[in-house]
Symmetry: C2
Subunit: 276 residues, 2 copies
């Protein structure tokens, strides 16, 4: 999916919500555990209940890898169940030297090789340009680079600074030389407040993937105040707050209700920049 298609989706559906499928078999409703693949059954119902309220799904690869081969199959089946007009993100945070990065890009972008073709993959910057560029070699695919993450210990290294600014600002400055806003996004945590405003000044045009709204304590209103640009420029993720909103047989409806609350708030925010 290219940038214009993504923006069109956002305008049409009046939402920039991403639903995070961080599906933990220990947290899904009991009645699903007798299904052949409980996690897949859960994901399908969540997707059915939310796909008109969001523009993206984010699959957190760790929650699938921890189940080995079966988990990998569940991830593929989940991806392939998502409607084709919805943006899909492999939240894999990979990062390795060139020839290895190419293999990771194949794993997430090349369905012929791996059975999966996501629109985007999250990538870690620590190893530098040659660990990121192989992902950028795929046409019409997106790389979402970690910049300033939502977790407490992001400060350990991302907020190290010198005369060129914080490490995360230097990551953004360098990486923005490697690709255009048509191919590259950044992860910026919703818990970062005014740092988001600084980042928006540094990169006015890029889309930002923003986790940390909801369970992690970030405010959607603040994220919009500091982060919206003329094209929206935000994909805001919520995982646990939506998918675990209910714990019984009505969990999908409960998830829909939570997603709708966020969508309605987003519609209000989008009304400030788009002429619906």
């Amino acid at each position: 999916m290219n940038r214009q298609q993504l923006i069109n989706q956002i305008r049409f559906k009046k939402t920039f919500l991403c639903v995070g499928l961080d599906t933990d078999i220990n947290k899904i409703p009991q009645h699903l555990l007798n299904q052949p693949d409980p996690v897949l059954a859960f994901n399908k119902q969540i997707i059915d209940a939310t796909h008109d309220l969001c523009i993206a799904y984010k699959i957190n690869t760790a929650f699938y890898e921890c189940h080995g081969v079966q988990g990998w199959q569940t991830m593929i089946n989940t991806l392939n169940y998502i409607p084709k007009n919805i943006f899909t993100i492999a939240d894999a945070k990979r990062g390795d030297i060139g020839n290895t990065a190419s293999m990771y890009a194949q794993a997430f972008f090349d369905a012929q090789a791996s059975g999966m073709s996501f629109d985007a993959v999250t990538v870690a910057p620590y190893m530098g340009a040659d660990s990121v560029k192989p992902f950028l070699a795929f046409a019409d695919k997106w790389t979402i680079l970690l910049a300033l993450t939502s977790n407490e210990s992001a400060k350990n290294f991302q907020l190290i600074n010198n005369q060129d600014g914080f490490l995360y600002q230097q990551v953004i400055a360098q990486a923005s030389q490697w690709a255009t806003p048509e191919q590259l996004m950044y992860v910026v945590g919703a818990t970062r407040g005014t740092a988001l405003a600084d980042i928006r000044k540094q990169i006015p045009h890029h889309f930002l993937l923003v986790p940390g709204v909801g369970e992690q304590g970030g405010s959607l209103a603040d994220v919009c105040t500091y982060g919206l640009n003329a094209d929206c420029g935000l994909i805001v993720n919520s995982s646990r707050g939506i998918i675990y909103a209910g714990a019984d047989e009505n969990f999908a409806q409960a998830a829909r209700n939570e997603a709708m609350k966020i969508q309605q708030q987003m519609e209000g925010e989008l009304g400030k920049i788009f002429d619906f």
Copy 2:
């Protein structure tokens, strides 16, 4: 495998070689392609031919993930074929927030959950302490944190500096507060010359996993000069230089010959610190 068992292996086998199973189906001998699982068939012969010459195998997860479910199965089968007294490393370079990092740790350490129980996993430091500590929660398992990598663009961020030193030195300084040398190692590229000497001064006791000897241009003699400590303290990896030494039906013997050259050089180096 704990530290003393690892050191005992090194003394007993007179080697600190790690063979990297970065197995690319496009580079293995043609005659294997009619096997049910060509990559597994290749890996088994490499393991049979080298296991007395090395103390570790490193599985680069990207080369397996790019084949989807089948690749994940090949990785599990490869791991389970490695003799139990040899140190096993999942070169996965994972890194994510706490609850996600716990899932990655399960994927590589908890055979009941995932079918795999490696001795060690490589982890990226960008997201800080809470992305690393869940790996450290597993008893008798090792976390191998990226410090100064062997690739050209490592300089983009790892060599950013301020009054507290280079970023990689700050990673080592902070992470060394999180765990002892009984549980934590660092990745330091063989191409880094005297930086390895500086790192050895900073952390005299930790084991270092050193890739980059061979194809990437690092010198084993230099690595030993700068990096050996009284317990050896080095695991030196070679992947392509060994596993692709031959391209025909004698590939396993060719791999053995290359591994033996390195083992003999290592035996000479170990003779300087151990009384065999």
